[in-house]
Amino acid sequence: MAAIYSLYIINKSGGLIFYKDYGSAGRMDTNDSLRMASLWHSMHAISQQLSPISGCSGIELLQADTFDLHCFQSLTGTKFFVVCEPGTLHMEGLLKHIYELYTDYVLKNPFYEMEMPIRCELFDINLSQAIQKDRVALLGR
C-alpha cells in the first residue's frame, strides 16, 4: 500500500541531521545517506537558479516511476524530504507536521546543538506516532 520509504532532514548548510528509513526497500547506509542529502541540497539550490521566474523556492516534488520525493523547505533553510511510493497523498501535510515536531522536540530541547545531528528520543517517539497515524489513515480508506 502507499508507504513512506525514508525521511531526511537537512540543515541549512546541506548536512544531514536526521535520516530514518521505513521499508525494507531503499535502505541506505550512513555514507550513502550523507551523500544523498548533500546531493539533494545542491540540486535544490540549482533548481532555484534554473527557474525562469525569480523568487523560486526550489523543488517541492520529484516524481519518478518507482518513487515520489516530496520536499519542504522552511524559511530558515532547513529541508525536510520524504521518499515514498508513487502517488502517495498528503505528504505535504505530513512534512508540515514533522516540521512542527522538529520545532517542539528538537529546537526546544536546550541540550540539542543547532545544525547538529538530531539525537532526541522524544522526537523519534513522536515522529513514529505521526508516521503510524498517517499510515493508518491511508490504509483505512
Binding site: 539550490a45 522552511s74 524559511l75 517542539d104
Partner: protein, 186 residues
C-alpha cells in the same frame, strides 16, 4: 494543495499552552538578579541578556514559522509588521506597533505599551545602566538572522528608566541570502 492562510497572533495565542504570568515575571526577574550577582557589571549583564535572547531567537523563529504559517515577507516593512502584530502577540500576549520608518525602509521602531517582563519591577539607582528587557533585543536579532537578515536592535525608550513606553529600534544592516558558490568557475 492550496497554501494555508497565515494565522493571526490572537488565534495562535489562544491555541498555545499558556503559563502563569507571575511565574514568568518571577523567573525572568530571578535570571536578571542572578546575572547581576554573578557578573556585577551592568554592561556585562546587558551583553549576557542579549546573548541569551539570541540563543532563544534562533530556535524561536522555526516555532513561529511553523505555528503562524506566514509566507516569505516581501520587504522589511512587512517583516516588522509581522514581528509586532503576530510575533509579540503569540509569545508575549501583547500587541506592539511599528513607527518611525526611515527613508530607505531599513530602520523602524517597535513600540510596546505593555510588557509582561517588567510587571512589578523598579530599577534601583545602582542599576541605572541596565536594560532589563535586553533579552527581547537578542530574541529579535537571533530570529531575524536565521531568516537571512542581519539587524541591530537597540532600546530607544525604556519605561523602567522613566519613559512612557518601551521602544526598540530595529535596523536592517543587510540581507544575507544563502549563496551557493557555483559561479566560481567562470
Amino acid at each position: 494543495m492550496a497554501p494555508v492562510a497565515p494565522r493571526s497572533g490572537d488565534a495562535i495565542f489562544a491555541n498555545v499552552e499558556r503559563v502563569n504570568a507571575e511565574l514568568f515575571t518571577l523567573t525572568y526577574g530571578a535570571i536578571v538578579r542572578q546575572l547581576l550577582t554573578d557578573l556585577e557589571e551592568v554592561e556585562e549583564v546587558n551583553k549576557q541578556l542579549d546573548q541569551m535572547g539570541y540563543n532563544i531567537g534562533i530556535r524561536l523563529i522555526d516555532e513561529f514559522l511553523a505555528k503562524s504559517n506566514v509566507s516569505r515577507c516581501v520587504d522589511f516593512k512587512e517583516t516588522a509588521e509581522v514581528i509586532a502584530k503576530v510575533g509579540f502577540k503569540m509569545f508575549l500576549g501583547v500587541t506592539a506597533s511599528v513607527t518611525n520608518w526611515d527613508a530607505d525602509g531599513t530602520c523602524c521602531s517597535i513600540v510596546l505599551e505593555d510588557n509582561p517582563l517588567v510587571d512589578f519591577v523598579e530599577l534601583p539607582d545602582t542599576c541605572q545602566g541596565l536594560y532589563y528587557c535586553n533579552i527581547l533585543s537578542g530574541v529579535i536579532r537571533g530570529a531575524l538572522e536565521m531568516v537571512s537578515m542581519k539587524t541591530e536592535v537597540t532600546w530607544l525608550r525604556d519605561m523602567l528608566r522613566g519613559d512612557d513606553a518601551f521602544e526598540l529600534q530595529v535596523k536592517l544592516l543587510k540581507q544575507v541570502p544563502e549563496e551557493y558558490p557555483y559561479k566560481d568557475d567562470e
